[in-house]
Each structure stands twice: as C-alpha cells, then as structure tokens.
Amino acid sequence: MKIAIVKNYYGDFGGEETGGNVPKEYTADSTAWPLWEVFIRSKQGLDHKHAGSLKAADAQMAIENARDVYTRRQEGVSLWVVESKYIHASNPDDAESLYEPAEDKIYRHPTFYDLPDEIKHM
C-alpha cells in the first residue's frame, strides 16, 4: 500500500526571499528599555532571592514580565524588581580586605568551644 504524507510547503517553508544582511533602517537604541533585576520569594516565610534580570519600560511592566518569565511554574509568591542601575556592588579586588579578617576569628563560631559530652541542650 502506498501511503501519501501531506507535507506543508507553506508557512514554514519557501516564500520570503529577503533576509540576511538586511540594511538597518533605524537604530534600535531609541526604543530600548532599561534593565531590571528580579527577586522572588519562593514561599511565604522565606527571603526574596535574586532570580535574574529583564527589560521593561517601567516598574509595573517589570513585575508583569517577571511574572511571565520567572514564575510560570509556581516558583514564587512574591516579586521584587529594582532597576539594575540602582544596585551597588562590592569590588572583587577588595575581597581580601573585606572578608579575610573574619577567617582568624574562629571564636565567633559555636564549634570553637570544647564542652563535655554530658552537656545537653546547648
């Protein structure tokens, strides 16, 4: 038996002859939206945690886009967005002077103290 398969040589095939090295007719910059950072609270009682970033024209749109992009599978119950330019970060070159002094202060950890095994609830 001969079986004929219907193939759709339209829509996804043929047609358009343009494309590739299309001359630019405008500069994209004039319509570009600012960048936002997205923070998600995954469930009630937990901190908001950085999830990623996205582009949006304003805060309301950033929240709507964050909802669409980052919480499609019940990843969160609350969203924060902040425009990326308002985030200030520490410099990685300062990491030694900032964080290393804590290394020799092991007495700040409970395990530093040697106590008898008999002691309970401590």
Binding site: M1, I3, A4, I5, V6, K7, N8, Y9, G11, D12, F13, G14, G15, E16, E17, T18, G19, G20, N21, V22, K24, E25, Y26, A28, D29, S30, T31, A32, W33, L35, G52, S53, L54, K55, A57, D58, M61, D68, V69, Y70, R72, R73, A89, N91, P92
Partner: protein, 313 residues
C-alpha cells in the same frame, strides 16, 4: 600585577572549580568566547520559536496547542536568561540583536530546516531538544557563573520539551498507517541534522581546546554526539521506528554504537547561510523586530507619561 600573573591566577581559579563572576578579572579572549557562545545560544532559543510558532495554529488538538504554546513561551524565556547572562560581560542587548539580524551572529543551524508535517513537532522535541539538553546539562557546570545559573534554570524547564515530543511521536506511532508513516518520515529528516548540532568533529573543531581548558565546555563535540546516539538508538525502539543509518551497529569493544559519516558538506553549507530556511528565518526576525518598534516606543512613552503624572500629583 602583570598580565601573565593575572592569567595564571585566573587559570588557578578555574582549576579549583571557582566560578568566574562578572566583575572578576578575566582574559579578553575568555570574555569574547563567552559573549559569542552565550549570544549564539540565546539567538538559537529565539529563532527556534519560529518553526514551532508556525504549528501553533495547526496543532491537531487543543491539548497539543496548549503544550506547544507553553513550549514556545519557554524558549522566549530561555533566550532572555541567556541575553541577560551575555549582558553581564559588557555587551548590550541591542548589539546582540543587531548582530543576529544582520547575519553577523550565528544561531543553531538546526532551525534552518523546515518543519513540514505535524510529526516534525514531535521529532524536534525528541531529537533536537534531546541533543540540546546534552549540551545544556554540561553547561550547567560551565565556569562563567551567570551562564551556569541561566543553564540550571533552562535545564529544569527543558526536560518537559523532550518528553512532550517523544510522547507526541508515541501517539503517532500507535496510530493509522498514515500517522506511522509521518512519524518515520519526520525521524528520517531530523536524525542527521540533529547529529550535526554537536558541531564539527573534535579533529576539526577550532575553539575546543581552549574552551575545555577554561572549562567553558567540559565534554567534546564527539563525546556528546556519541552519548546522544547511544540514547536515541534505544529510545527509537520504543516507537517501533528506525533511524535512517544503515551503519548503526553496537561496538562491543568501545561499548558504543558506531554510526555512519555525517554529510559535512551539508553541515558547512547550512552554517554558511545556504540551508533551506536561513533567509526566511532572518527575514522573519527582522520583520518582527521592525514591526514591533512602535510597541517598544509606546511602552516608553506611556511609562514617561505615567511617571510625570505621579510626580505632579
């Protein structure tokens, strides 16, 4: 610090499996390789929506339509995660999009093949997404932090893409003689292009050595391709279909399936822009971007107006 000292310290971090973060010092070539690879990856997600978007209005049932819409929406999100990761390396979204639209930047060649029947949606999910997942799982451990984090998020979502594809083929494989024939035909057309997705042979690949040393990649093209073949050979049996390669044979010595030679001439032709749909894909992207310009402008104007009103109140 001298440049070679910085490079030495950088390599030590990589060797110790310490992730590289955006503000850390990195060799210019490391930055460039990551920008190229991450943006290419982002473009692939975006262009990958085109052949699938074509089938949303032609899906055979409401269930399949809903699944397809969800999948296409995921791809848009994956593109966004990756563009954001690339942006942390100092390139801009606008620059990347311009490079895609001008044809300067590449995207995965697989999307330059047409989807001719509904069975192609299943084959794309099973084979194309299956091949992509092998690469993506490896990239969850890539050395650049933002790229690795984007990949973790992507992998969580991608598994549904492959499973829905296989299930869709499974339904066809148990259907009418026409549906069975469609299923086999789609597998025949997508098998070889899927193998090509892993890129040139290790012996021909120019960027591989350095990328392995920097742990951007952790497995070679040939290693990934071989694992894909080994998995697919077993999975196709469950469909009661065959893979279109007479040279497929279990090799007891290597514990792998040997497979036939890929048509590298075709591979390079498609990479260079001469695949069946290269022109059409770029035309569709350019058109969408151009025709969407007023939406981006209107959103900005609306945001500015709202901000001014809030200030006045």
């Amino acid at each position: 610090m001298q440049l070679h000292d910085l490079e030495k310290k950088f390599q030590e971090k990589i060797d110790k499996e310490i992730k590289i973060e955006p503000k850390d010092w990195m060799p210019e070539a490391y930055r460039k390789t990551n920008v190229r690879q991450i943006s290419q990856h982002a473009h692939s997600e975006i262009v990958g929506m085109l052949p699938e978007g074509n089938w949303i209005s032609r899906a055979p049932s409401l269930k399949r339509k809903a699944i397809l819409i969800a999948k296409v929406q995921d791809e848009a999100g994956h593109g966004l995660y990756l563009y954001s990761a690339a942006e942390t390396l100092g390139t801009s979204r606008e620059q990347m999009i311009d490079d895609l639209h001008s044809g300067k930047a590449k995207y995965s060649s697989i999307f330059n093949y047409p989807t001719l029947t509904w069975a192609d949606m299943g084959a794309v999910g099973w084979l194309v997404d299956g091949a992509a997942i092998l690469n993506q799982v490896m990239l969850c451990r890539t050395s650049y932090g933002p790229y690795a984090r984007a990949m973790v998020r992507i992998c969580k979502e991608e598994s549904f893409h492959q499973r829905q594809g296989f299930e869709s083929l499974l339904v066809l494989s148990r259907g009418t003689p026409e549906q069975k024939a469609m299923c086999q035909d789609a597998i025949n057309r997508w098998w070889w292009p899927s193998l090509m997705m892993f890129g040139p042979k290790d012996s021909e690949s120019t960027n591989s050595d350095q990328s392995m040393k920097w742990k951007i990649k952790r497995k070679t093209n040939d290693e990934l391709r071989q694992s894909f073949v080994n998995m697919a050979v077993e999975q196709v049996k469950l469909l009661g279909m065959t893979l279109p390669d007479p040279d497929l044979k279990w090799n007891e010595a290597t514990k792998n399936y040997d497979f036939g030679e890929i048509n590298w001439e075709e591979f390079w032709a498609v990479v260079k822009g001469n695949g069946p749909c290269n022109k059409q894909r770029l035309a569709a992207r350019n058109k969408a971007h151009k025709e969407g310009a007023w939406v981006r402008e209107a959103a900005l104007a609306y945001a500015a107006k709202k901000a001014a009103r809030e200030k006045a109140a």
